[in-house]
Every structure is written in C-alpha cells, then in structure tokens.
C-alpha cells in the first residue's frame, strides 16, 4: 500500500488505512531512532528542504534529523536571510526550490492554507509542518503514535484536549485524526478561545477541566499562544492558570493510567503545573522522540510513492 497524495497537507485528507500505514511504518523507524547506529540509506540521493516562515526548534530539528538519519540531503531555508525577506512570493520561492531538485519541501507558515498553495505550484511533495490555525498533521500523527504505543489501539480511547483551542492547529489535527481513528475527543477552553462550530469536527465541548478529564485515557494540554493573540482573549496569565490551567486537584478524575501530553513548548505553571509536566505519567519527552520516527515514516513513504 502507498500514500494516495503526493503531499501531506492535513489529517483531513488522509484515510484511516493511510494513517495506519504511517503509524506502523513509524514503529519500525523508532527502532532506528533509538538504536546506537542511527543511519539507514532509505533516502540516499533525495533532497529534503525545510522552509520555515515561523520560528520553531523541535519541529524543524525533528524533520532535519529524520531526513539525515535516512541519508537524505537536508537543507534549511531560513526565511529571515533568504529572498523571502526581499519580498519574494511563496509561489516563486517554492518554484525556485523545486527546480533545484528538491524531492520534499517541508513548510511552516503563519497563514492557513499556505502549504496547499505551495503544493499546487511545485512538483515536489509538500509536508505541512503547521499552517496558521489550520493543521499540524505531523504533530497529530506523532500524538496518535504515542497513544498507540501505550494502548495498542486508538478505538474507544477517551482523549481530553485542554487549552487554547481557537489558535491551535495541534488541536484541529488531533481532533480530526483521533475522531477518524475511533477515539472519543473532549475539549475544554476559556470560552473566548473556543472556535465556533468546532464540535462539527467530532469533538465534544465540556464546561470544566474536571468534567473534561473524567475517566480519560489521555489528557493533552495546549500551549497558550501568546504570540498569536492579536487581542487579549483572557485577562491575564494569572487568571488563566487559576481557572483554565491543569493542576493536581482538578485532574484527579482522569484514569489512573492516563497519559499526560503537551505539544510544547510549555508555559510552565500556566497551562499545566510543573508537577504534571515532570510527573511519571507525562510522555512529553516520548512525544518528541516519536516525532522523529513519524517524520521519518512520512519522508520514507512519500519518496517511495513513485517506485
């Protein structure tokens, strides 16, 4: 079986069998990531470019390592020092990278839909590494991979997603992906950070943190995206942590074996207390490792489509 599209733009266009294929491939890739000799030649002769219009540490490094572990040429285009800073359009930048022989272009952009525009205009495969408030499919996949590692199957899992849902591409990809795979998703946010109609994606809105985490297998906190806040949507960080942050008291109702996740970077003490972040049930660091494995799987599967 192969992926149907040349691009990974969002989980909304992946079928369940494709998601399963990616997650199963990632399980093999994880063996490479965690071995002493992290080098295979699956991507030898391939060129992978990361084109990031927004700052990022973990996602960019994760993609770069994923490419390098598999023997690809990996090039980072830094937007602040490239022609983009001279006003070049996305399409022109994309076409330029395309004709230099890139096989895969990985793009992060502050505007929703930018990867779709790029994908339409280049021959290379495009992977969305996060677009505006739209999707972050590789994060959704690595989150699902992390849950599957513990629980084996996503069907019937109860997953709580708590925080700034409005600005969160992580939330959208997780809601879409998890719902597709048969999990039950509940969400909670300050009312000003809950986007209208989000329940049509399959999530159930819960009024309080206590009710959201009740009997849950997984609890995911979302970063308060202070940089994305055009206007103050809540009065202060203090008030956020007091009423909307997770602390040992308001999360007692989750299952004993519940996993604690966060896409990072974490605002410690705002969306989650440090006791949760650093607690035994936290898999935040596993998520990061799994991110490399999932991205290796995607690079492998996309370059293998033609063969």
């Amino acid at each position: 079986m192969k992926l149907r599209s040349k691009d990974i733009l969002g989980l909304d266009h992946l079928e369940t069998d494709e998601i399963n294929l990616i997650l199963e491939t990632a399980a093999d890739m994880k063996k490479i990531v965690t071995s002493r000799m992290k080098k295979v030649n699956y991507l030898q002769g391939k060129t992978v470019i990361t084109l990031f219009y927004e700052n990022s540490t973990r996602t960019r490094v994760s993609f770069e390592l994923a490419a390098k572990y598999m023997g690809a040429q990996a090039v980072n285009v830094s937007v602040s020092t490239s022609s983009v800073a001279k006003g070049e359009t996305l399409i022109d930048t994309g076409k330029t990278l395309d004709v230099m022989g890139s096989d895969i272009i990985i793009i992060r952009h502050s505007m929703s839909g930018a990867p779709h525009l790029l994908a339409k205009n280049v021959e290379a495969s495009v992977i969305n590494a996060g677009d505006g408030m739209h999707e972050h499919p590789t994060q959704g996949l690595l989150d699902m991979f992390t849950m599957r590692e513990t629980f084996g199957d996503l069907r019937g899992l109860k997953v709580a997603i708590i925080g700034d849902i409005y600005h969160s591409r992580v939330a959208r990809s997780n809601i879409i992906g998890l719902t597709k795979m048969g999990a039950e998703v509940r969400i909670n946010a300050p009312s000003t950070l809950m986007p209208p109609g989000i329940e049509t994606l399959g999530a159930r809105i819960c009024p309080s943190i206590e009710e959201t985490v009740e009997d849950c297998d997984v609890v995911m906190g979302l970063r308060v995206q202070l940089e994305r806040q055009k206007k103050a949507l809540f009065p202060s960080a203090y008030e956020y942590s007091r009423f909307f942050g997770m602390n040992p008291d308001n999360i007692k109702g989750a299952k004993k074996h519940a996993l604690w996740m966060h896409p990072g970077p974490v605002n410690r003490g705002i969306e989650m207390t440090s006791s949760i972040i650093d607690g035994d049930a936290s898999v935040i660091n596993d998520q990061v490792t799994n991110g490399v494995a999932v991205r290796m799987a995607l690079l492998y599967l996309l370059t293998g489509r033609e063969e």
């Binding site: 909304d12 359009t89 996305l90 399409i91 952009h109 505007m111 929703s112 839909g113 930018a114 779709h116 525009l117 677009d131 505006g132 408030m133 739209h134 999707e135 591409r169 959208r172 986007p195 209208p196 109609g197 989000i198 049509t200 994606l201 055009k230 206007k231």
Partner: protein, 429 residues
Amino acid sequence: MRLLITHGTIVHADRIEKDMNIYIENGKVVMMGQNIEREADQVIDAKGLYILPGLVDAHCHLRDPGFEYKEDIASGTRSAAKGGFTSVACMPNTNPVVDNVSVVNYIIEKAQKEAVVNVYPIGAITKGQEGHELAEMGSMKHAGIIAVSDDGKPVMSGAVMKKALIYAHQFGLPVISHCEDLDLADGGCMNEGVTSTIMGLRGIPSIAEDVMVSRELLLAEYTGIPIHLAHVSTKTSVELIRQAKERGVKVTAETCPHYFTLTEKACLGYNTLAKMNPPLRTDDDVKAIKEGLRDGTLDIIATDHAPHHNDEKNVEFEKALNGIVGFETALALTYTTLVDKGILSLSQMVEKLSTKPAQILGLDKGTVACGKDADLILVDFDNEYTIDVSGFASKSKNSPYDGYKVKGRVMATLVSGKAVYTHTAFKGL
C-alpha cells in the same frame, strides 16, 4: 441616425409588452408600439429576444486612476457593456481617492473619451476615505458626482456619519454606506463559522455587518434623511431593514449576485476567488437574501465589480485581496438563480437591475420610454451556456463562476441608440 428595432418583447419594471417595435432617433426613443413602421437607417430584428432598459450598476470599481493594471475606464466599461450595463456608478477608492474635484474631472473627462457606457463617479464621504473629515461633497457634486460613499471602508464614527448624511442631503447626494464594524470584523478574512474554524482562518462575524446596519438605520430614522446600504449579505441585516422599512425609515438596500448564489463553502480549499468583503455567508443567509429580494426589502442588485490582478489572488488566502469581477455574470446569474426559479418575475429583475438603481442615484435612466435615452439591451434568456472567464472583456478574470452553467445572454447593448456591444452570434444587427 435613425434606428428601428422590430418584434421584440419589452420588459418594463411594471409590465411586459410583446411584439414591439421601437423607433430611435438621435439617441432617444421616439416611438414605441406594435406594427409601427418608420423609415430608418438601420433595422434591428429582435424577434425572439427581450428588450430591457440598459442595466444600471449602483456599485462598481473601475480602478481608474491608480490601478489601471486591474481595470481602466476603457476596459471596465467594455466589460459593463458586455454584461448589459449601460450606466455604471464607480466607487471612489481609487488612487488618489475621489475626494476632490480634480479626480472627479479626471474620471469624467476620461470617460468622455474612452468609455462605451455612461460613467457616474461616486465621491468619497471623508477625505482620503479615512473616516474623519468630510470631503468636499458640494464641489464634487458640481463636478459631476452622483452620490457619496467610503465603500471598501466603513465610516466608523457615528458622529461623522451623522454629519455626512445631513451635509450630503443638502446637496441632494445619496449616501451609500459600506456597513462593517471593523472592531467586530477584527481582521478576519472570511465569514466566521464552522467553515472558518475548519480552515483555521480568522472569521468576520455576521454581526460586524448587522451592528453597522442597525446604526445606519437609526441614523436615517433620527435625521429623517435617506440612506442606501451597500452589499447586504446577512439574514439579520435583511430582517433589520425589513423592520425599519415597516416603520417608515427611508432606507434602500442592495445585494450582489454572489450573496444569493454562493456560500462560505466556496472558500474551501483556500479558494481566493471566493474571498470578498462582506464575506460569503451561509445557506440561511442566502435564503434570507432571496426572500429579501422577493418581498422588496432589498431594492436592487449591484455587481460590486471588483477587478484584481491574478498576482493579487494567487497568494495565501489571508493575503489575497477582496472582491470579484461582476459585470459579465450579474444578469445571467440573476436570471438563472432568481427568475428561472420563480423567485422574481422578469419585471422585478428589471426593476432591481435597472429602474430602481437609477431612481436611487437620481439618474434619468432605467426605463424604455418615449423621450428617454435609447439605452437598451437585447437579451436571449433561452440561451444556455457555460461561463468562461477567459473570454471576459474585463482586464481581470477573478471570478468564482468559471465553468458555471447559466441562462441568459446579452446579444446587443445600445447606449443612446449606438450599439456598443454585439454578441458574435447575433445576426439581427
């Protein structure tokens, strides 16, 4: 020049006359009737065709001066003629803005030289359309503007709008309001709702329009001065206008073909051709707009013809400019969506696309009658075809209707008795 049009069906705003001849001399309609025979220099056989008063567009952007790469007066009026519009009122958001006499003069002089249809400039309400100080409306009126509007931007200050209404009224200038509360719109780029959530785009809530519509209705009621509301797109606005009319507020309102043919779903896939302001709304809004047109709450249909270069649309959705070209699709979309489906009669369509917009703007246009300018169009409403944007006369092709199947083709457009457009398949001329 004497012209005789024979055997056409004339559609007036209040009646239809079959098998009519129209005799035109020196650009004016001189005689109308069945079987009238006069010697003419030219005879047009209109058998099987409908004769409508030339359409009057109360809202378009000709982009001249300043944005001639999108459209200019020559190309814009040819596009209008092809769509059946014989008179167009162009909005002042050019560069420079039409907020002084010299820009008005420029447009009028250029139109005299290059335009193929009648061009009526609309002046700005405020200097630079910045919403603060009133523009020189009196002087611009003397130079030839027929209305004032800050279209593209709202007049955010209620105090400025109140002054504008009172001042413009003294000069007999209608005020056209672009209803949008910018604070509520909050930098959004499509309708706020399920679709904006799915696409991860900032939404413009419908109340951004409704709140401003309410303010304008109250200002009109308070001052007793009429106001015209541009491009109404929401269900609640239609209802607010309906209620205001019932209690006697002097308000007229327009909508555009896109607000009764498309919904926000047209934006899916980041289709920038469906990006406009006000944004495309929901099915419920479309239903309400149709009902508002049917019951007369919405007086007229305007195009909001807004040409943009492909480079301004072939970008990230948030970056793409607002608006679509509309001259060459308005009549067919209105006929196909409203008349063919029994929502409006042919006469009501003529009222909304010609007679009433002329009245609102105070133009002696929009009728087929003796003594009036022979601004007429010949239309074949049985002609079914697929819209092909590549054939547009406009410089810009930013239309979401490429590939749409429609009915109703303009076969010829006459301005003051002169054919300014004829379809290649029209043999009667």
